[in-house]
């Protein structure tokens, strides 16, 4: 179908020049009507030969003109510009188009609309970008990956080893970006009506901020998924540890002598417990995930890398699940049907389930058992979160079920897995349970084991003394630790410990936190409270609480407060 009405009403001078060029290119190429190819050629600055311009437009080209009108309206421009044409072409290339054809009436509507808009509203910045893109620019997320890196750098990041400053951020950004393109692209293919193109649903990694992921939705229908770099680091680390456990326990089973078999199996398992404990202690004491490098062989590194990317995909799909289910709030009131569960917790399970379904479909063409592989990705994503949560929080909010419970729900609704997978998951969960059980110190021999095998080790800068010191502070029976803290406490320090021992958190915080609002937030049972927040509040108290042993005192106080708040890792 062709139109003969004037489609140029509302087009600026430059845009008209492009349309004329396209018409000349159509003539030069000997076609009957101007198509998208000629529009592209004209926009590429190709100068056409002189001639008699073609006056007819193909349906596809009309769609572009129509889209450019819409784009200029969205940008509150007074006329269609070349950039509107470019934006329309880009948009058209990314999705199947069902827009109605252009008409002179529509063009006239545009001129009316532009007159109504006038100068009342200023033109938004970068109006050809989606609001999600603009927001990411505001956040300071790079719009392209410019920092150079080598394959070796990428390998080091996947092994959890240190790289040059900035390079790790770049590689994590790239990982999040690529994972996003894959998941969003897959969903866009399955459900094009959602219009989840790569410039409307953007997945980006933030080097600072939460150890989680969050979706942000915008009025133009675009979305940004923000992934925390520390969550990605935790995922990579968890994938490496699981791969190590798989390989090392498999090797142990190969031993002919039973005693050696048992010893190697025990060592592999103990090493995993120790490294998980180290990750937990490091986060608890320093606020950051400490480096736990894994030097696996090439094949294992590849497997762990793929699993980590899959786990990141699960996280991204989970966020997209929230969007598709229309979850915008996190109500912590009990859900009417489930009783004990909050509405927000139920939403999390819905998003997990949706993500697992998406991942299973994504993996179907390449994996013989896609559901099993998708479950592994979910397992890694959830347990990476679990270890971090156990390390960080003194009190969890009611927004999310604990990660192990989320895993249990996914596992229960899935097909039974093979014996090896069952054994590996059970072993990892047992090691995790051992690592988070802070009521007794890990034996010295276990820490030493970590130095013996380079396949799974810890940062060389963390000495055994430091780690065992952290462990002692967390694992010493609380009464004993408090008694030691009292020896160095001032009168105010004594009072603080007394209040905490008597369960008077409000009174205790009144001594150490001057800001009323901050105190209220720390006491609010619906909000998370980090162990390090409690510790810092005590360490930065406006009065002198302790004459020496500052670290021990603040940990003792924070543990007393945390015990009251009931996190599993704080009992003892």
């Amino acid at each position: 179908m062709m139109v003969t009405s004037d489609p140029f009403l509302g087009f600026g001078k430059d845009a008209r020049t492009i349309l004329l060029r396209a018409a000349l290119w159509a003539q030069a190429e000997g076609v009957n009507a101007i198509d998208v190819a000629q529009l592209r050629r004209a926009l590429d600055d190709d100068q056409p030969p002189d001639g008699l311009p073609i006056q007819f437009w193909t349906r596809e080209a009309k769609r572009i003109l129509d889209a450019s009108l819409r784009e200029s309206l969205r940008c509150r421009a007074t006329q269609v510009s070349n950039s509107d044409l470019r934006a329309a072409l880009k948009l058209d290339a990314e999705r199947p188009n069902t827009m109605p054809s252009i008409s002179a009436e529509k063009a006239a509507q545009h001129t009316v609309a532009k007159a109504q808009i006038g100068n009342v509203q200023s033109k938004p910045a970068n109006c050809h970008e989606s609001l999600a893109q603009q927001h990411l620019t505001l956040l300071g997320v790079p719009s392209s990956i410019d920092q150079a890196y080598t394959e070796g750098d990428a390998l080091r990041v996947l092994q959890g080893r240190e790289v040059a400053p900035g390079v790790a951020d770049t590689l994590h950004l790239k990982l999040g970006w690529l994972v996003g393109i894959q998941v969003v692209g897959f969903i866009n293919n399955k459900a094009p009506k959602l219009r989840w193109t790569s410039n409307r649903v953007l997945v980006r990694t933030l080097s600072e901020g939460e150890s989680s992921a969050r979706p942000l939705s915008f009025p133009d229908g675009s979305h940004a998924i923000l992934l925390g770099q520390s969550l990605q680091e935790s995922i990579i680390c968890t994938a490496n540890v699981i791969e190590y456990l798989d390989v090392a326990s498999g090797l142990a089973r190969l031993s002919v002598r039973r005693r050696k078999q048992e010893r190697l199996g025990f060592e592999a398992s103990s090493r995993v417990t120790a490294v998980l404990r180290y990750l937990l202690l490091g986060q608890r004491m320093t606020g950051r995930l400490p480096p736990a490098p894994a030097r696996l062989d090439r094949q294992s590194t590849e497997i762990a890398g793929k699993m980590a990317a899959g786990a990141a995909m699960f996280v991204v799909a989970h966020e997209l699940g929230h969007i598709t289910h229309g979850h915008t709030m996190t109500p912590t009131t009990p859900h009417a049907e489930t009783g004990k569960m909050t509405t927000s917790e139920l939403q999390e399970l819905q998003a997990d389930n949706w993500a697992l379904g998406v991942l299973t479909q994504m993996m179907a063409p390449d994996e013989p058992e896609p559901e099993s592989m998708a479950l592994w990705c979910a397992f890694i994503g959830l347990f990476a979160t679990y270890i971090t949560e156990q390390a960080i929080y003194a009190r969890r909010s009611g927004t999310h079920p604990e990660a192990w419970a989320r895993w249990a729900v996914l596992e229960r609704t899935s097909k039974e897995c093979d014996e090896r997978t069952q054994r590996l998951r059970a072993a990892f969960m047992a090691n995790t349970a051992g690592a988070i059980k802070l009521d007794e110190e890990l034996p010295t021999e276990l820490w030493q084991l970590l130095r013996k095998d380079e396949a799974l080790t810890i940062s060389p800068s963390a000495t055994n003394d430091t780690i065992m010191g952290w462990d002692r502070l967390q694992a010493t029976p609380l009464d004993e630790l408090v008694a030691t803290a009292r020896q160095a406490a001032t009168r105010d320090g004594e009072e603080l410990l007394n209040l905490l021992e008597n369960g008077d958190l409000q009174g205790a915080l009144g001594l150490v936190v001057p800001s009323e609002k901050r105190r209220a937030r720390m006491l609010d049972e619906t909000l998370t409270l980090e162990f390090s927040t409690l510790r810092q509040a005590i360490a930065n108290a406006p009065t002198t609480l302790v004459s020496r042993k500052q670290e021990l005192f603040s940990v003792a106080g924070a543990r007393l407060a945390a015990r009251m708040l009931g996190n599993q890792a704080n009992r003892g």
Partner: protein, 118 residues
């Protein structure tokens, strides 16, 4: 600004620094559901760092016309001054973020931003 936004803008003038930073983090990072529970302290740190990274940009946006307009107004009114600053920031930062940044910047003092040695 609609009436709800105006009211919340008025309220924000009375918030303490930490609440303002939390609101800024909410505006930048979102408040809805996520993969794990929100790390409120980390979100506040993020907002703090975000503001710090933007000092140069904020100086450019606020220390010209806006600063001279405020200096020549005579008297100090946090609500109307915040509105002027928020208007100046709105084009780049978007409305909710601009409102919060405006209150924070005025609370911290534009003198220190605009007349400090850079």
């Amino acid at each position: 600004m609609d009436s709800g936004a105006r009211q919340s803008f008025r309220d924000s003038i009375f918030w303490d620094d930490e609440t303002l930073l939390e609101a800024l983090a909410d505006s930048l990072l979102g408040t809805g559901p996520g993969f794990g529970p929100p790390d409120i302290d980390r979100r506040i740190d993020f907002a703090q760092a975000w503001l710090k990274q933007r000092t140069t940009e904020l100086r450019k946006e606020l220390c010209g016309e806006v600063w001279s307009q405020l200096k020549h107004r005579g008297g100090f009114d946090l609500l109307s001054d915040s509105a002027i600053v928020a208007d100046a920031l709105a084009a780049v930062h978007g409305r909710p973020t601009a409102n919060i940044v405006a209150v924070i910047m005025l609370r911290r003092g534009l003198v220190s931003l605009c007349e400090a040695d850079t």
